[in-house]
Structures are given as structure tokens and as C-alpha cells.
Symmetry: D2
Subunit: 152 residues, 4 copies
């Protein structure tokens, strides 16, 4: 299986197998085995503080966890035997999971669009760690965080 | 303003001013200035891993942050001057916010209903800390965490 | 190797192979595969805030990480093949390590003695998670935290 | 009081009022209201894993908390009324404290010297947040973390 079809495989997994991501409107816009980017647009359903018109911290946490998860999966796939079938690859991805997540909220979540990037910090056979940052469309840092993931 | 109408005030705030909470189906079921409980039912939109049928970690994080936020708000209100108008109370609540959140995922999020409880650990004029746990309807611990909040 | 000599083996490891623990005066007072307790006495060298006479947060973090590490090691050893030699056991213990640690400081660290307990929350082949609490000799909660550990 | 004597004031506080920092050999080498750097040299007393010759995670946590604390204090002092006496300044610094600390351990702590830097991420009247990184003398990232601090 070629590298580019692997990437398609992951995109398909992300877009079809993660309903909550779609429910929030989070789209994976870029990734490789080192870094990822996901984006979502402001919508009323994501608000956590209506009087102040601020994004809910749970939406931010979800975006951070999603960006971290994408780069972890890509990093796992990169190491897999290239002869695996698409089904086997999906099985391996499905075994990854978040162990713990820390989110630091820096500024009120306001903006038209939110861009979250993740970078692999530690990558092992058992555990991987990613660091994430979320900015709004004006480049302001809204939140950052760290996720520790078990790898299948 | 009586204590019971204060509680109604918060319930109203939670139910009408936090759209993301409603979007996920999270309902505040119990709280005072020391502890809170929120619940939500399994629904497909909250899934993070469709092949494995596991809740998204972001939904869990949202429930934990919500439970923590409720008990923090109740604790803030308890200390307020009792002569404040409902509008002033809502203003004070609206100024509370999450500084940081840590979630530890213990078991795959499976179940029909998820019950999250929060307890105040530290309560100050500037900062309050709550500790949260989420169980499923069979009493299995799914996740726990800690939230640090700024108080208005 | 009998279970009791296994415990001696760990005690020896803790007391002889962890110089920093001794440097701070932290003593392992109790443990099995589910829980542990470590203690240390107030001494001037551990102070982080001399005008206020408060323990350094790093001393607290060290006690929490130590208690967590002890219960993780005991839990790893419990699952090992009982025919392993003491050298092999020490090798396995030595491969355990902290992935991440979160400490929540609840009250100023004051007291004559500090007692830290750890409980296993998640125990797997790759990763284990422990939750810790530190009280002073008057029973006041000083700090709590969570550690995620890789297991050898 | 001039800005340079303010800095001397802090240095004096750090070096004389924080016994645990001296006990570990941690020296503040650089700081302003935005960033700080602290260093310590390898010594046997700081070892957490003698068979593997790895630094104790508690020593790393202490260095991160120290670097974070220094930049928080500098940032607090920068905002103070310049007419305060040295005693008043020390009083204000002494009121700062760590609320929570997260440490992510990336690689085994090995090296001759360890350099920890901290950067202010959030700076408010009530709470400040700093992000820290520790490298060894060969430039390898050993650990990173985040500290949330109450400001006096």
C-alpha cells in the first residue's frame, strides 16, 4: 500500500469513524507523522458562556485531543509493515487511545475559526506524547495542552 | 433573594446559557457549594471510536469540566452578598472560567448513561480547584480529573 | 522466590538505588500491589519559602512521584514470573519510569511529618496510573496528584 | 528603587530564602518579566534510578517549578509600585505560590548539566501560567511542563 493511499486511509477513518468530531465540525486539514492541524468554525452550539460569547472549554479540549490523536495515528501507521491491508491498518489505529490530557486555557475562546496544531514530543512502542496549541483566525493563542496516548 | 431561588437561578443559567452542554445532552442533576453531579446518555454523535464503540475523550472532558464548573459557580454564589439581583448574580457566574483541566482516562467510555461528580478541593477568592470522577450506569470508573478555575 | 522476600527486594531497591529519596529523607513505610505509603519529616533543607516557612513544591512533587513509583513497581512485580532471580527483578523495576506527573497544591506545606499515599487507578501491560495524596501529621490535605508510568 | 536593584532583590530572595533550591544546587542564571533560566549540575544525590543512572523525576519537577516561580515573581515585581521598600517587595514575592504543576518526562535525565527555561503564557492579577522546558548540556529535551501560580 503506497504512502499516499495510507494517508487517504487515515483521512477516511477520521472523517467516517469519529462521529463526535463531525458533530462539532472539526476537520483534519493537514498531517504527517510529526505534526497535524485540525480546524473548526465558530458556531452557537459550541458556546460555553453565552453572556460572554466564549467557546466551551470542552470544545477546545476536543479539538486538542483530536489534533493529538491524528498525529499519533499517523506516527503509528508510519512504522507499520507496509503490506498490511486497509482493514488491518484501521484495526491498529482503533487501538490507540488517550491516557491523559491537560488543557491550559490562555484566552477566552473567541474568533471565526480555530486552528489547532499538534506536534509529537515522545514516540515509543507503548506510549506517545503530543503537544498541542489552538489559535484563532487572528493568530491569538487560545489554549495549549499535552496528551499522552497509548499506541496499539 | 432566598437560597432556593439562588439555586434555581444557577439551574437556569446552566440550562439556557451553556449551549454546548445542551448540544451534548449534559444535564445538571444535583449540586450545592461542595459537590455537583451531571449526567448524559450515550448517543452516536458522542462516539470517538466507531469500530470500538467508545465515547470521544472530548465528550468526557466536557462532562468533567461541566461538573467542575457547576460546583465552582455554586461555591461562588454561596459567598455573594444575598442582596444581589439575579442579573448581578449571572454576571458574577459568567466571570468564572477554567484555567486548566486534566483528564485521566481509566477505561473505555462505554455504557448507557454517564454520571460525573465534582467535589471542591480548594476554594479561594481568586482560584478554586475541583476534582471530578465519571462513572457509567454500571458503576465503572471511566475517567477522573481535576480542574482549576478562576473565580470572578 | 517467596512473596515476602520479593517485598524485601523492593525495599532494598528503594532504599539503596534511589539516592534522591534518601537525600530528602523519604522513607517507604508500607506498600502492596494496590497501595503505598511514604513519609518524610520536616527539615530546613526542604523549605521553598523561608519567610512563610512552607515546604518547596518540588519536595512535595518528589514525595508524590515516589509513592506512585513504589505502588507501580509492586504491581509490576506481582505479575512477574515467580522464578525470576533478584537481579532480573531489579532489572524489570529499573525499566519503569514516570511519563507524566500532575501535582495540585491544596494548602501550604507545613507540619512535622508528611504522609503520602498512592493508589493504583489503571494497571496495564504498557502503562499504569496512580493517584496520590499528601497529608501532614495533623491530617490536613496538603497536595494531591496523578502520575502516569511506563511499565517495563 | 531602580529596576536593576529590583533584580538584585529577587536574586537575593531566590538565593537566600529558598533552601531546597540550594540543597539541589539549582542556580538562577537569567530572568526578566517574560522568561527565566535556571541550571543545575549532575550530582549523585539527585539520582532516582541508580542502575540506569537517571535523574530523579522529583529533581526535574523542582527545576521546572523553580524556573516557573522565578519568571512569575519577576512578572509580579514588574507591575508593583516602584516606591515599595525591599521588605514590601519580598513580602509580595513570598505570597506567590504554585497552584498546580504538570511535568512531562520526555527522555531519561542524563547529562552533566541541566538547563531549564520558563516563559510566561498567561499573566493576570490573580493567576499566572508559565511553560517550562529542561534540556541537558547536549541540547536534548529531557522534560517540559506547565505551572499555574497564584500571584500575591
Amino acid at each position: 500500500m503506497s504512502s499516499s493511499s495510507l494517508l487517504e486511509q487515515i483521512s477516511t477513518f477520521m472523517n467516517e469513524q469519529i462521529p463526535f468530531q463531525q458533530y462539532l465540525g472539526i476537520v483534519v486539514t493537514r498531517f504527517d507523522a510529526q505534526q497535524s492541524e485540525v480546524r473548526f468554525r465558530w458556531k452557537e452550539e459550541l458556546v460555553g458562556n453565552a453572556p460572554m460569547q466564549i467557546l466551551h472549554g470542552g470544545a477546545t479540549a476536543t479539538a486538542l485531543d483530536t489534533a493529538g490523536g491524528v498525529v499519533i495515528m499517523a506516527s503509528v501507521i508510519e512504522r507499520l509493515n507496509k503490506d498490511l491491508s486497509p482493514e488491518e491498518i484501521v484495526q491498529r489505529i482503533a487501538r490507540c487511545g488517550t491516557i491523559d490530557l491537560r488543557v491550559d486555557y490562555v484566552r477566552p475562546g473567541r474568533g471565526e475559526e480555530f486552528i489547532t496544531t499538534a506536534t509529537i514530543i515522545r514516540s515509543g512502542n507503548k506510549v506517545a506524547v503530543a503537544r498541542m496549541e489552538m489559535h484563532n483566525n487572528e493568530g491569538m493563542l487560545i489554549a495549549f495542552g499535552t496528551g499522552t496516548y497509548i499506541v496499539g
